[in-house]
């Protein structure tokens, strides 16, 4: 049994919140730079270059890449041989509180979905805990902006809808999102499980590095096909037209019921942020 103090967790989460908001993951940087190089439409190419400049400006001036510093989605893989001293979820929230204050990040969380009221410190985190073998604790902070989150959708498809039904749903969701989620976007697609699991799979798909395809060749091919079809829609960067509507499509799946084909599309923007640490 390994003991991890809650203070250690708070400090780690705080640092991850700041890092994730100022510094994009290397795979996202590579995808944006490649898109800027390969985009054939000149207005779109210029737009992508400005977005690349924005990333370097953020790094240089210690500014958040985007002013929507998001709701802090925190994914914790807790080794089953770890004992956490203190209240784990309170420790994560304390980390978010500190990180958003110290990093001059925007506090964008309201206390109640209908009655609103800013909580003032960006808490609570949207925490997902997974119990895994071992004695390590892996924390990933994903600040999720709502320009793109608002454009996400879930549909309980019929098994007979099949792969074409899934494609139609993804394409209609991206089309309806249009210019709103700050394209170029990243599309997380969750297939299978139950209503709730499909949504979580879609969010998990956004954690995968953009240049890492699904390990199953069938789904890797589907990721490529969907990306190609999305980039034939013409929406383009900012919705002003062009090829680069999406940087990547990532699919996560799990077994499901004989009667079902749950499909969830979680859209992320070109500022797809994540930062991890293992304690």
């Amino acid at each position: 049994m390994r003991i991890i103090q809650s203070e250690e967790i708070s400090a780690a989460v705080a640092a991850l919140c700041v890092r994730a908001n100022r510094q994009l993951p290397p795979d996202v940087v590579r995808a944006m730079e490649r898109a800027a190089q390969e985009e054939p439409w000149s207005l779109a190419k210029d737009t992508l270059k400005v977005l690349c400049d924005n990333r370097t400006a953020a790094l240089e001036h210690c500014l958040p890449v985007c002013q929507d510093t998001g709701m802090a989605c925190v994914f914790a893989q807790v080794g089953q041989d770890v004992h956490i001293e203190g209240d784990f979820s309170a420790a994560v929230d304390e980390g978010v509180r500190r990180g958003y204050e110290a990093g001059f990040l925007r506090k964008s969380v309201v206390a109640d979905p209908l009655r609103r009221g800013n909580t003032g410190d960006n808490t609570p985190a949207a925490l997902t805990v997974e119990l895994v073998p071992g004695d390590r604790l892996r924390l990933t902070v994903v600040p999720k902006g709502f320009g793109s989150e608002n454009m996400s959708a879930l549909k309980m498809l019929k098994p007979s809808d099949g792969v074409q039904g899934v494609k139609d749903f993804v394409l209609s969701t991206v089309k309806a999102a249009g210019s709103n989620p700050c394209p170029p976007i990243v599309v997380g697609l969750g297939l299978g499980g139950t209503f709730d699991k499909a949504a979580l799979l879609a969010k998990h798909a956004l954690l995968r590095p953009l240049d890492l395809p699904n390990p199953d060749p069938y789904y890797a091919a589907l990721e490529r096909e969907l990306l190609e079809e999305i980039n034939a829609l013409g929406i383009g960067p900012q919705g002003f037209g062009g090829r680069t509507t999406a940087l990547a499509v990532k699919i996560e799946t799990m077994p499901t019921h004989v009667a079902g084909l749950p499909a969830a599309v979680n859209i992320s923007c070109h500022v797809t942020r994540r930062a991890s640490i293992e304690l």
Binding site: P40, W41, L43, A44, T47, V50, L51, D53, N54, R55, A57, A58, H61, C62, L63, P64, V65, C66, Q67, D68, T69, F104, L105, R106, K107, S108, R116, N118, G120, G147, N150, G178, S179, N180, P181, C182, L233, G234, I235, G236, Q238, G239, F240, G241, G242, R243, C269, H270, V271
Partner: protein, 185 residues
């Protein structure tokens, strides 16, 4: 085409702008998002005075990040304009001429833009770190309880914008993708 625009805005200066034109805006700009728009339209319904005068004003849909010591403003890119669609026609009909945000607008807003000779300008979504550089001063105007959604008066210089919807209803979110698709057909 690149055009210099100064606020407070004279609607006469907006008539020649066309969707796709680039604009460099200088002068005062008021920040307001959903919560502030709700309060503005409530004040209008009650016949009360607004925190700033609508005619000639520029409204920017932004909730900036807090400024670090030595900075004027933090990251300050646009938020999705569609959430303001329910409120914008009321403001436009009272003479409010220029909105800045990102993303397409509803039919009702486009109609109100044309009816009033207004324009909708797009700022670069997700380029908040760059946008902050054209902000020369920030003053908290009202509704501090809204946090990042409070109304602020920004003084901007050469803020880079694109005409997304012009006063004749020309719409870059429709014409831009259509032109690209035509080019690859």
């Amino acid at each position: 085409m690149e055009v210099k625009l100064t606020s407070p805005v004279d609607k006469k200066d907006l008539a020649s702008l066309r969707a796709g034109d680039r604009v460099l805006l200088s002068g005062p700009v008021y920040t307001a998002r959903d919560a502030a728009h709700k309060r503005l339209t409530e004040l209008i319904a009650q016949g009360k005075t607004l925190p700033f005068s609508l005619p000639g004003s520029v409204i920017y849909y932004v909730g900036p990040t807090p400024e670090a010591p030595g900075q004027i403003i933090g990251s300050a890119g646009p938020t999705t304009s569609g959430r303001m669609d329910a409120y914008s026609p009321t403001l436009l009909d009272l003479g409010q001429p220029v909105m800045i945000g990102k993303g397409n607008r509803s039919r009702e807003v486009v109609d109100a833009i044309v009816r009033n000779g207004a324009v909708y300008l797009a700022a670069m979504g997700g380029a908040g770190a760059l946008m902050g550089a054209c902000v020369k001063s920030v003053e908290l105007l009202c509704w501090e309880d809204l946090g990042c959604e409070a109304v602020r008066r920004l003084e901007v210089e050469d803020m880079p914008l694109t005409v997304a919807i012009d006063s004749r209803g020309g719409n870059l979110y429709e014409s831009g993708p259509a032109a690209y698709l035509e080019s690859v057909r």
